[in-house]
Symmetry: C2
Subunit: 338 residues, 2 copies
DNA sequence: GTGAAAGCGCTAACAT
DNA sequence: ATGTTAGCGCTTTCAC
């Protein structure tokens, strides 16, 4: 029963060549005859040999593995991104350590150390704390951030959607549809992305000579799920009697939470109040009413981040490498703002 | 700039002891003085030493890493399970390779090989093909399946919810609320879990002397998202003029898709048609109407699987180990079946 | 085109 | 309580 993985040494013995030659054949490094290749490959196949990656990593200081830090995989937007990233690296023969940080800085640091110890070739991190804990890295490996601008620009590269423009476009859409009193609905601990969306919101108001009102800046308890938190928050606003005719929610789940609160209070969308979300999750096109939103190009975000990291890993400076990539967003107009 | 990870050897030199002693201190293996401990730890801290896991794995044939195969992380039920599993192993100082198989048998095999080569200490797999490809494993490591009964019982241990009872209870709930013509809504490529749910459905019908009708067994195209597929499928059933008064959907998203189709056709839930889902995803308690469903105890599922695997890894046979664990489900009655 | 041998960083058996 | 040393499986330099 006890299986034993066969080693290069044994392959060498069985095929009557040296370990060096076997290694060359496996890695296709040249300097072996066609005959040897056939012989060695036959034995490898026969015994189902697979190379011991621990040994290889130890020797080469490379693991063909990358680390991926994500705040919460139990969130459709993140999981979709993770899926894409995993797919891209799988194609390139890389494995991915997916690390769920739960927005916990301690866990983030712990993972950075652990990934470093595991000899990952690079790290991608999505959101989380502003400070990228690169100081816990003992090796010189590249780090690419998605959707978070690192405090120390020297620490990492990053790619993000144009959140400022997203906020601006979303607000403009509501204004163009006749809204004047627009709620900005976000969580109480703003991420850098949310700050930029807020700035976009302000810019759109200003451009249309609408005065900003603090009571319309509605915060959601960060400990609740977006949907539930938004539902509670908007319900409270209604009960307070604050007048508004539009809602810009900083993600689609928050928009749905708001929708639920309005429904419960017998307020009609979009007739009385218009809503726009952010992210364009799958359900947004199919719900009743369908939800207007800002579409982030997840695939492109993932693609850009992955290939940037791969370039950095391979120290490929043939093409120019930027420190920062900002990807365009687009407005998706649906029933909720018509 | 080029960082260099410090090794045990250098720690030894710096603290004036041998590498063996340093290793003992690090792993707390005894046979060193308090004085040495302090000295060594001081140096370790000063230089931010972390142990090279590749080397350690090579030496010990253990990696403190486990592999997790999941069909599709972009699905709330799976991502929730993954989150739990990751959390539990993190607490135990294990890392988790999360591998997204996309229901692709080739990818599954590829991951099995790769995990084996990476010296993972064990594997958890969720659903996927019936055949667990243990033959691609060159080392003797434990495999625990969640929600999938492996064909070869010898291949792996498994834990699952009581899907038969789930199907039975869901159908019974609809019957008790007065339904007679109950649609069974599932995807066209049934998983072993869905087969069992279907058997439960049949049993409940039989017990209540309701004849099974094939036209009420509605299949969803597996390539579509549950929500969209269900919406299309139920819309088609309505257009065909098939009479029904209840729907048992094999997951909550399918229930919501059905709900949307009914809404579009101006059919009221639960007044005209009652619906029950499966999984109890977060939105089900908050939607309008809230959704009756079968609750699977995800936390317990994760806990059971993880601790089973950990037991197997540690070859801990102090407590009895079963090959199979079946966890109870429970009915959650909400508005959609009232 | 092939082989011998060193060494990556670590643990553990054995010696003291 | 501490040190010496072999060796895990692999790559790579150097010699032929």
């Amino acid at each position: 029963m006890a299986k034993k993985n066969i080693s290069i040494k044994e392959i060498a013995k069985l095929s009557g060549v040296s370990v060096a030659t076997v290694s060359r054949v496996i890695n296709n490094n040249g300097r072996f005859s066609e005959e040897t290749r056939k012989k060695v490959n036959a034995i490898i196949k026969e015994y189902g040999y697979t190379t011991n990656i621990a040994a290889k990593s130890l020797r080469t200081s490379q693991s063909k593995t990358i680390g991926l830090l994500v705040p919460n995989i139990d969130n459709n937007w993140f999981s979709h991104l993770v899926l894409e990233i995993e797919r891209i690296f799988f194609e390139q023969n890389y494995s991915v350590f997916i690390c769920n940080t739960s927005q916990d800085e301690k866990k983030e640091i712990s993972y950075f150390k652990s990934l470093d110890a595991k000899i990952v070739d690079g790290i991608i991190c999505i959101m989380g704390s502003e400070e990228v804990p690169t100081k816990y890295l003992n090796r010189d490996i590249p780090v690419v951030c998605i959707d978070r601008e690192p405090k120390e620009i020297s620490d990492a590269y990053y790619v993000e959607s144009d959140h400022y423009d997203g906020g601006y476009q979303a607000t403009s859409e509501l204004i163009n549809q006749g809204c004047k009193d627009i709620v900005f609905l976000s969580r109480n601990k703003p991420t850098s992305a949310n700050k930029q969306r807020f700035n976009g919101y302000l810019a759109a108001l200003k451009e249309n000579h609408i005065k900003y009102r603090d009571e319309l800046n509605v915060h959601i308890d960060v400990n609740l799920h977006s949907y539930e938190g938004a539902k509670n928050a908007i319900d409270k606003v209604i009960k307070k009697g604050i007048k508004f005719d539009g809602i810009f929610a900083t993600n689609d789940w928050r928009a749905y939470g708001a929708l639920a609160a309005l429904k419960n209070n017998h307020i009609q969308v979009p007739q009385q109040i218009k809503i726009i979300g952010f992210d364009d999750i799958f359900i947004s096109s199919m719900s009743i009413p369908s939800l207007s939103t800002i579409h982030q190009d997840t695939e492109k975000l993932a693609y850009t981040a992955c290939h940037l990291l791969l370039q950095l890993i391979k120290k490929d400076d043939s093409s120019e490498i930027q420190k920062k990539y900002v990807l365009p967003i687009k407005v998706v107009r649906r029933e909720s703002t018509q």
